[in-house]
Point group: C2
Chain length 378, copies 2
């Protein structure tokens, strides 16, 4: 079969599979972004975004990618002279560090990709009492690794440090109770666990963060303006991506119909099944198992098996899209995204196709063992 | 008739009517933003964006509103200490001034809404030899006014000043030949003359602008990174709004099928017809007639006629959407957007409905005169 871009099993770590109802919601003629009809869309979006973040506090929706949300958080909270601490154990944690260094004075704690941060080292840094903001990536899409959010949150609370959490590939797939964990700014993206099209960044913003943000460090990405305009007028300060708002609304409605708790549970089950299949096939996860992500699984290629053997064949011959690895680890592992709408059925197909590809590449294993491991979770 | 959000004549000054082909283009399952298939989308988008801007130079496509594009231009070109000059004779020129003051040291030349700038005053300022950047809004959507771009461009060339032009509601509707007029950064938005959904900002960037931009003043909106990634890899540095890229591609294809020159001519004819109707009805344009915009017409309410009488009735009873006026002139005038796909047929309906509304409000005029004036242009 030649790859068909309109008809495939889509297992990227974002963008992800979009429900037909969400695509249909975009098939709408123009709506004025200052009309009462669109304000009603935003009103419901605001409530559903609070539901998503498990917060009673403020939220904002920016037209831009997840990186725009990260940029907004750090450019609003940091000026030169403000000390920040970031954790770099993957590509997106590295990005957090780049942003914090650009806007403030940041120290970056660096750990190898896929390994946890040293909590003692973090505590040592925070206990100096100079840090205004700690910023980190909760779920590292780049490595299928989840950082210990509750523990990091505890340290921030103890030392009265503002906590910025990139929850782009965790919120809606892994439990991120923003109010309970006292996350000051949490960022997520529309095209991940929410399963809407890419192009919107969603943020939760604590009262403390609102007070700590500068008024004059950013314009388009000024979070306070976005928060207030949404809270007070059901609008955005600048023209939003109207059709993406309509899509996001439908995707969040679908999420609420399933229930946040159920979605998180389902995502976790699919992830467990995926990891069981990896083990049954004698393959190795990239991250330490205790830190393996529930939204994306990163799997090392065994000796003698190339990215083309598996990822290439999955796409070109079996019509299944999985993700590769990013620089500086290009070609060393591949990643299966299983957030949003992905169910056991898609995982079955993916694991089966991986088995077939591994067999063709000469890798020795018990055929069917991976799929059987998934079945045990069904 | 009660207003139907899915079925109306949509005459805003952006967002505008979207062609069904463009909506259909968005009805597509997810595509990986790093896939060869999406690179092909971006390759064609890059060529069509150059066509739109009439440039052989660099272009960029940002996920964000037109304001994100304005923010990008000024935050990349200005640091504190860099002198900028801006022209404020409408809401968006005012925004340009806010941005320039935020990022650099800006002087703002202020003129009443709807009146032209004093070219002598601009020349005087530029001749001091201190100005790095002149930034202005070509077409003031807020007032239906077009600033004299060629004359301003000449002054910038004479004094070797970088020219930033907000062409958000002009590019694709009014002639903006970027290379010929030596515009260093020109910005437009997807939801105006291109007639795609809102959410993307398109920029043209001259070699001189590329050299003058800082590397470390912005992150998500770093123009050089966007330009290079699109030029060298047919990609964007961060996840773009994939579905909006697909929509933009179809909208630009439609524009090219009509031909840029033809679209500009058609837009101009519709505008002329609209102004003729305004005159025939004894109404008054907001801006001086020589500066009246070809993409949006702003019309003062006559004494005794309220915004509700016309704009309210048009929407609620006749299913036709026109724009109101923005603060600080709320309620004083209304605006008809006639860019993108708008043809004489939509203008006929709009003018006819305005006549009916004016008559009901007790305004005295010759019924049918406005529509007849439009017919003369058909």
């Amino acid at each position: 079969m030649v790859f068909d871009i309109q008809d495939n099993i889509f297992m990227l770590a974002g963008p992800v599979k979009i429900h037909p109802r969400v695509l249909k919601a975009m098939n709408t003629p123009s709506i004025g972004h200052r009309s009462p009809e669109f304000s009603e869309v935003n009103r419901e979006l605001r409530e559903l975004t609070q539901y998503l973040f498990q917060t009673k506090g403020d939220v904002a929706i920016l037209t831009g990618s997840g990186t725009a949300g990260m940029d907004a958080a750090l450019s609003n909270l940091l000026k030169k002279g403000d000390k920040a601490l970031t954790i770099n154990n993957g590509k997106f944690g590295e990005r957090m560090g780049q942003l914090a260094k650009l806007y403030g004075d940041a120290t970056e704690l660096v750990y190898p990709w896929g390994t946890p941060p040293d909590l003692g080292e973090i505590e040592e840094m925070l206990s100096k009492g100079e840090t205004k903001v700690l910023a980190f990536t909760h779920n590292e899409t780049s490595t299928g690794f989840t950082n210990p959010l509750p523990e990091i949150s505890k340290l921030c609370q103890k030392h009265d440090v503002i906590l910025v959490t990139d929850g782009i590939t965790s919120v809606g797939g892994i439990d991120v109770p923003v109010d309970k964990l006292k996350i000051d700014v949490c960022i997520t993206g529309s095209q991940k666990c929410i399963a809407a099209p890419a192009g919107l960044a969603l943020l939760s913003v604590s009262e403390r963060a609102m007070e700590a943000m500068y008024d004059n460090t950013s314009y388009y990405l000024n979070i306070k303006k976005h928060v207030k305009k949404l809270r007070d007028d059901d609008q955005t300060p600048y023209t939003p991506a109207v059709h993406l708002h309509l899509a996001l609304l439908e995707a969040l409605r679908i999420l609420k119909e399933e229930g946040l708790e159920n979605r998180i549970k389902r995502t976790g089950r699919v992830a467990e099944a995926c990891r069981a299949a990896v083990e049954a096939l004698g393959l190795e996860l990239l991250p330490e198992k205790d830190y393996a992500s529930n939204t994306v699984t990163a799997i090392k290629y065994p000796d003698g098996v190339s990215d083309k053997d598996v990822r290439g064949r999955l796409k070109e011959e079996y019509g299944i899209i999985v993700a590769g690895s990013q620089a500086p680890h290009k070609g060393e592992f591949f990643r299966i995204g299983h957030m949003g709408l992905v169910q056991m059925r898609e995982l079955l197909a993916t694991i089966g196709a991986i088995e077939a590809s591994l067999a063709k590449a000469g890798y020795k294993f018990e055929k069917g063992a991976g799929v059987a491991a998934v079945e045990d979770f069904m």
